[in-house]
């Protein structure tokens, strides 16, 4: 039970705007489902509210970091623009908690990364995860289907790991090395330190992968911050994510994963089948439409607004939907 008045207000605002747009702009076709066709404002299809949807409530969840909050809000607001009622349970925690909640019915849907679902839920060994984004998605979709969950089509962006460092560190300590293989070959390779989330220790797509695939055993510094540890000199390198806003600044040179250690991590909105029936093709179309503009660059921008500019995810999601013409 979260009483987030701010979210509710934002949602009501979006809804009113969407209704207003419907009233003002388009045809005089009344009745019948909303569907597409309404005001082509700036290329994106405006989501029109269908009053019939008001009787359906969906609970959208998310995991507990910025990108997840933003995505959760985007999907939630998109459904609300279509007239559905949406309850939010963002900030659920780790993927295990989210998946449990999804299966148990505490939430109806949440956005999950293909790679994560395969390794964390479906017991696929990290080395067996398909490197191709589409293959990985199809495999995840199959597995989800066995649980009566539909994995909606994947986003084009993926949020995979990146290894970064500071400019000075790359010049001095790493002697200009630009790929992980080069770094691993340095004489002082094992004396370097790399920072990452605590759970990175166990992940073969994280620290363990460096050990196994690159035969590199750096010292590990567990830290919840991503760029802070290297900024504050607690570690030489850091595990970060490809959609991090900070990457746009150019301040953090990337050490390239030339051996392709990191598997695909595209987002797929996983929704239980009974909930999918409730929102019908309209709801489904809205979800699929609203995630189309999410390129890596756009996602980085959205993440920046939350992590660097310290804006609220709900507001950032709303701005995104407006920019790309889904709401007005």
């Amino acid at each position: 039970m979260t009483f987030s008045t701010r979210y509710i207000l934002a949602a009501i605002a979006a809804l009113i705007l969407a209704l207003g747009a419907t009233a003002c702009g388009s045809d005089d076709d009344e009745g019948g489902g909303g569907g597409g066709g309404g005001g082509e404002s700036a290329g994106g299809t405006l989501l029109e509210s269908d009053p019939a949807n008001a009787e359906t409530t969906l609970t959208v969840g998310s995991k507990n970091f910025d990108e997840q909050f933003i995505l959760g809000e985007i999907y939630a607001q998109a459904l609300e623009a279509k007239g559905f009622k949406v309850d939010r349970k963002l900030n659920l925690g780790s993927e295990q908690i989210a998946y449990k909640a999804l299966k148990a019915g505490q939430i109806d849907a949440y956005p999950e990364y293909t790679g994560t679902s395969l390794t964390s839920f479906f017991d696929v060994d990290i080395d067996d995860v398909p490197k191709d984004a589409d293959e990985a998605y199809e495999l995840a979709k199959e597995e989800y289907a066995k649980q009566d969950i539909t994995a909606l089509p994947r986003t084009q962006f993926e949020n995979t790991y990146r290894i970064v460092t500071l400019k000075e560190t790359q010049a001095d300590l790493l002697k200009g090395a630009a790929t992980v293989t080069e770094v691993a070959a340095l004489p002082n390779a094992d004396e370097l330190s790399i920072a990452g989330f605590p759970e990175c220790r166990q992940r073969t797509d994280c620290l363990l992968g460096l050990n196994n695939t690159y035969d590199w055993k750096p010292e590990f510094v567990a830290d919840e911050g991503k760029y802070t540890p290297i900024e504050k000199d607690r570690a030489d390198l850091g595990f970060v994510f490809s959609t991090d806003g900070e990457l746009t600044s150019g301040e953090y040179p990337i050490v390239e994963d030339d051996k392709g250690l990191f598997p695909p991590y595209n987002i797929s909105f996983g929704i239980r089948n009974d909930a999918l029936e409730k929102i019908g093709p309209e709801g489904r179309e809205a979800i699929e439409a609203v995630q189309k503009p999410l390129t890596e660059k756009v996602m980085q921008e959205l993440n920046s607004r939350v992590s660097i500019d310290k804006e609220e995810p709900a507001a950032v999601a709303e701005a995104y939907l407006k920019q790309f013409g889904f709401v007005e």
Binding site: T2, F3, R6, R154, T295, V298, I308, K310, Q323
Partner: protein, 237 residues
């Protein structure tokens, strides 16, 4: 799978390159940002208040009832103190976690744990307060023909009030501190807001400041009541 790129990204990307010192981007203490964003602390703050007040209230009712029972049955004091003491000793992080298989995630788990922490302090203080009532006062009351129950409510409890309120004070301020960890049980509160961005000094300052402020405020309120009650005591004596 192909994607149509909706190419109206223009104007969407902000320029964040070397704009010089920007308080927020440097994660410092930024009064302007705080002024603009204080409303994101409102809900966590009220969640925190809710958790504290509810837990202390329930804890008080239970502990008070137990103490009244134990007042006439001295043998109870040991075991109840032992039990509540054991509950008190279990670290809050562990407690929030251990309850989850039973009560799941959410307010219930947090409140159960927080209630358990208040029991020892309140129980102990009520018992001690009642035990410290001077025998003369009780004799006088009996002499005046008061029944046991009347004596309890008209003489003993009023005299024990300062001690009871002192216990309430300790319980309340401790609960505010413990409620900061309630987010581990899925119950929100200021701790959750704090945990969202622990490196952003403004966030730490506001979330932390509100928690400490809340504790200080509750402490002050109960202290004032305590002083007033004591003064009234002395005046009436």
């Amino acid at each position: 799978m192909t994607f149509e790129l909706i190419a109206q990204e223009d104007g969407f990307f902000r320029d964040r390159s070397g704009e010089g010192a920007n308080c927020v981007r440097d994660e410092g203490f930024c009064p302007d940002w705080i002024a603009d964003n204080y409303d994101r602390y409102v809900t966590p703050f009220f969640e925190h208040v809710y958790l504290t007040v509810t837990s202390v209230a329930i804890g008080f009712v239970i502990a008070f009832a137990l103490a009244l029972l134990a007042h006439r049955r001295q043998w109870m004091v040991g075991p109840v103190t032992g039990l509540t003491g054991t509950l008190y000793t279990i670290p809050s992080v562990a407690f929030f976690v251990l309850l989850q298989p039973i009560t799941g995630l959410g307010y219930t788990t947090a409140i159960v744990a927080l209630v358990c922490y208040t029991l020892l302090i309140i129980f102990r203080n009520v018992v001690t307060g009642l035990a410290a009532v001077p025998p003369d006062a009780k004799d006088a009351a009996r002499g005046m023909g008061l029944t046991d129950r009347q004596m309890l409510w008209k003489v003993e409890l009023p005299l024990a009030l300062p001690e009871i309120l002192a216990g309430l004070r300790i319980a309340a301020t401790t609960t505010v501190g413990l409620a900061a960890l309630a987010f581990l049980a899925g119950a929100g509160g200021l701790g959750e807001q704090l945990d969202r961005d622990p490196e952003f000094k403004s966030n730490v300052a506001v979330a932390g400041g509100l928690a400490v402020g809340l504790a200080a405020a509750i402490d002050l309120v109960i202290l004032t009541v305590q002083r007033v009650a004591t003064r009234w005591q002395r005046a009436a004596a």
